[in-house]
Amino acid sequence: MADKESAEAVISEIHRRIAEAFNVFDNESSKSVDVREVGTIIRSLGCFPSEAELHEMIAEVEEEEPTGYIRFEKFLPAMTKVLMERKFRPIPKDVLIQAFEVLDQEKKGYLEAEELKKYMTQEGEPFSQDEVEEMLSAALDNKENVIFYKDLVSKMTFEDL
């Protein structure tokens, strides 16, 4: 049951999706959002940018003289392009698990809390204290004090989009 829609219709639907997500954070109906929320908006639309990529994108949509706010006018075309070009694609589950296995050098099948904390705060694009605490509180198996990453990946994956 393929949907034979013109390219226009596809784009207008994309525009609507972007507008909805944007409006959730536009508290004063001012057609602009706090720059700190842009990452959330982009990610909620199904994209997986790294922090660096995110900052690049923000730089693109910011005003000449940064005001701390991003206007919808500038955000819409940039975000549409991202979605059309399928940039920042999701990470497949198995790739994710492999990443965990790289960290789990002894191939135990789990990671100690301290281990994960160390990697997350010292490598890659480090987490803040808050971020890592939150992750641990969600990820830690209370009884055994370790993180079973395979389960974690299943639990923390949104099936949609």
């Binding site: 049951m1 393929a2 949907d3 829609e5 219709a9 639907e13 609507r16 999706r17 909805e20 997500a21 409006n23 959730v24 954070f25 004063e28 109906s29 001012s30 990452g39 959330t40 908006i41 982009i42 990610r43 909620s44 994209c47 997986f48 940018p49 790294s50 922090e51 999701p90 990470i91 790739v95 994710l96 492999q98 990443a99 965990f100 790289v102 960290l103 990697y119 997350m120 490598e123 890659g124 694009e125 480090p126 987490f127 971020e131 939150e134 992750m135 509180s137 969600a138 639990k155 923390m156 994956t157 949104f158 099936e159 949609d160 989009l161």
Partner: protein, 699 residues
């Protein structure tokens, strides 16, 4: 290291998704809450409609809510409070009060409530009597000074959340001569311990009358209470004397002061202001006359015709502005759109009926207390006739003051300049930064503190930090939805905030659980279910080939068109629609899954389900002696009236069928609770994961 980077990317995305859900949950609750409030107003207009259009027999059903309280004189009131005949049995293990109250009395009271005990009726009545005596002597606007009391603590909406009040007392200390408090309205409704909160607040007020100040909120109103749970709570906790307690509270609420001013610089009131707010006028009003801020105008008003407004013109030159505001609906005023809210009326249920602008205008005016048509008003304003009828002059200025008071209790701030009717709530207005500026300057004030709106952090500034919203009921929508907060204000009049969140287990909830928002989803699914037929029609419109499938895009558009809640459906879709094929949805299957049981008389039950809160309100009003029972005849009449107002066809047979299927008592009377239970059964069968500990009660 690439692996770490990958994991971080993934995790941050996950958190963002949750955050989005959390924000949506917030919007869902707000839109449904405010739509509910609108319904309340519309329901009230329905009663006005009944009064206008029906026979004396029908009118008697509910005319008692439009009558003045029968017991008018103070002496009679004191006799009515008669608590002396009520004995306190030996077996009673709750707190004992002696009057005048002592510190240990009140401490015992708080302790008892903490331990889930109830206060004996005798003491309740006594406490209320004393409270009423005190409140009567208070001015409309409390004037407080920090030089006497150093620091003042200000709390916002509590809504029956006893845990939050106790938490505030724990963190901040209880009221005392050293510790002043202002409680800014909405003590009752929604939460399950409204009466306990009220009793504690009154007790402290009696103990420290110079240090504890209460402002009236829009929920300190017996008509609102009928719908939002306080009436039910009191009747449930005090089976024998509940009605008496409620009747007394009716009067007591009307005696609550309307505002508090600190050091003549900080104005504290529950809802907000409008372009006509004038503290001098408010100070002179007979506040106790406004038993309910939703009360329709008295009949003799209308009879006075054109003369009346000339009188009003003399009272208040500023009136023109407000009339302008109320009448602006005729000129396509920009509806405030938080999310493109549209005004929903009960008549919109059968979507074929569209309210004409004039109808809408009439509703607004009726609500504001102005029953004449726009044209009459304009013509009489321009005429220079004398008001020869002093009585109607009085009426008019009373009606006028009612508008001002409604504004104080129901209004909300908006970012844009101006002042427009609050279509979302159906009462009061939206006011802009320019109005704040004007009113503050008019009275030489520097800050406006109000409540009325739930804020995620418990407080929020707006209008250039000149307006501060404070909300003290944490977890208002559901566990984890928001924090509560209170303000401490010293002689420097700089507000300091303390935030909190009741329910210790919040901290232990995992990330995902905290943001699960199942409660909001359930509320949404209820709304969807209630609009099943309309949704089906809308879907079928898109399914031109009659395949039974529509695209997800069309799903979103159709749902918004029917429900008109202004929610981000595409964002929510993944949570509401779980089975799709190639981006298409089998809509009939989806609709079928919304509840589990397939109701027989479908559209009738849908109507009832959607209107169940209204129905319950109507029933409770009809049940004037609060017995919990209404006769089948009363039920039938109500239903017929409601359905004719909604322009629906309902045969007596259909009503009888419905009655039979819900299994009424054979003695010909209907137990309200039993009737409403039928809807709760539908709720339960909707197959949603239930939240184990939620603080919000169902009404």
């Amino acid at each position: 290291m690439r692996a770490a980077l990958l994991i971080q990317r993934w995790y941050r995305q996950y958190v963002a998704r949750l955050e989005m859900r959390r924000r949506c949950t917030w919007h869902i609750f707000q839109s449904i809450e405010y739509a509910g409030e609108q319904d309340q107003i519309k329901l009230y207009n329905f009663f006005g409609y009944l009064m206008d259009h029906f026979t004396p027999a029908n009118r008697n059903l509910i005319s008692h809510i439009f009558r003045e309280n029968e017991i008018c004189r103070d002496i009679e009131w004191e006799r009515y409070f008669c608590y002396k005949n009520i004995e306190v049995p030996e077996l009673y293990s709750g707190p004992h009060l002696s009057f005048p109250l002592t510190v240990s009395n009140v401490a015992d009271l708080v302790e008892a409530f903490k331990n889930k005990q109830q206060l004996h009726t005798r003491y309740v009545l006594q406490l209320l009597l004393e409270s009423w005596k005190l409140l009567r002597m208070l001015p409309n606007i409390n004037q407080v000074s920090t030089c006497q009391t150093k620091e003042i603590t200000i709390c916002g909406d509590l809504h029956g959340h006893l845990e939050d009040l106790l938490l505030v007392f724990y963190k901040n200390g209880m009221p005392s001569v050293e510790k002043s408090y202002v409680f800014n309205g909405d003590f009752v409704d929604r939460g399950k311990d409204s009466i306990e909160i009220l009793l504690i607040l009154f007790a402290f007020m009696l103990l420290y009358p110079n240090n504890v100040h209460l402002n009236r909120g829009n929920h300190e109103d017996y008509i609102v209470n009928l719908r939002y749970g306080f009436t039910k709570e009191v009747l449930g906790k005090y089976r024998l004397h509940g009605k008496k307690i409620l009747k007394l509270l009716q009067k007591i609420f009307s005696w609550l002061p309307l505002a508090t001013v600190i050091d003549q610089k900080v104005l504290i009131l529950h809802g907000g202001i409008s372009d006509t707010t004038d503290l001098n006028i408010i100070a002179q009003a007979d506040r106790h006359k406004y038993v309910s801020t939703l009360r329709p105008p008295k009949r003799r008003w209308v009879a006075s015709g054109g003369n009346s407004t000339a009188g009003r013109h003399k009272v208040n030159g500023r009136m023109d502005n407000s009339l302008q505001r109320h009448c602006s609906l005729a000129y396509n005023s920009p509806l405030r759109s938080r999310y493109n809210f549209q005004s929903r009326s009960m008549q919109n249920f059968s979507s074929k009926v569209n309210l004409a602008v004039e109808e809408e205008l009439k509703e607004q005016r009726r609500m504001a207390g102005l029953s004449q048509s726009y044209h009459d008003l304009r013509s009489s304003l321009s005429s220079d006739s004398d008001s020869d009828n002093y009585e109607t002059y009085e009426d008019d200025s009373n009606e006028w003051k009612q508008v001002i008071i409604v504004d104080m209790l129901w209004s909300d701030p908006m970012p844009q300049d101006g002042c427009i009717p609050n279509e979302v709530r159906g009462g009061g207005c939206y006011w802009g930064p320019d109005v704040t500026e004007k009113v503050l300057r008019r009275h030489n004030l520097q800050l406006l503190i109000r409540s009325h709106e739930c804020k995620q952090e418990g407080y929020e500034f707006c209008h250039n930090r000149k307006v501060l919203t404070i909300f003290s009921a944490s977890n208002y929508y559901e566990v984890g939805s928001n924090r509560g907060a209170y303000i401490r204000l010293g002689p420097d009049l700089v507000p300091h905030f303390i935030q909190y969140q009741a329910n210790r287990s919040t901290r232990e909830l995992t990330l995902r659980q905290r943001y699960r928002g199942t409660f909001s989803l359930r509320a949404l699914r209820e709304q969807l279910f209630a609009h099943k037929s309309d949704l089906l029609y809308a879907f079928q419109d898109y399914d031109t080939d009659n395949t039974g499938w529509i695209s997800l895009k069309h799903w979103a558009t159709a749902v918004e068109a029917v429900l008109r809640l202004g929610l981000p459906w595409r964002v929510l879709r993944s949570q509401l629609v779980t089975t799709t094929q190639d981006g298409m949805l089998d809509y009939q299957g989806w609709l079928r899954e919304l509840p589990i049981t397939e109701p027989k008389t479908e559209s009738l039950l849908e109507t009832m389900y959607k209107q169940r809160s209204n129905l319950e309100t109507i029933f409770r009003i009809i049940d004037s002696d609060h017995s919990g029972l209404i006769s089948f005849e009363e039920f039938r009449q109500t239903w017929k009236l409601l359905s004719s107002h909604l322009k629906m066809e309902i045969s007596d047979e259909a009503i009888l069928d419905m009655a039979v299927s819900i299994d009424f008592n054979k003695d010909g009377s209907i137990d309200i609770n039993e009737f409403m239970e039928a809807f709760r059964l539908v709720d339960r069968t909707m197959n949603l994961p239930s939240e184990p500990n939620h603080t919000k009660t169902d009404e």
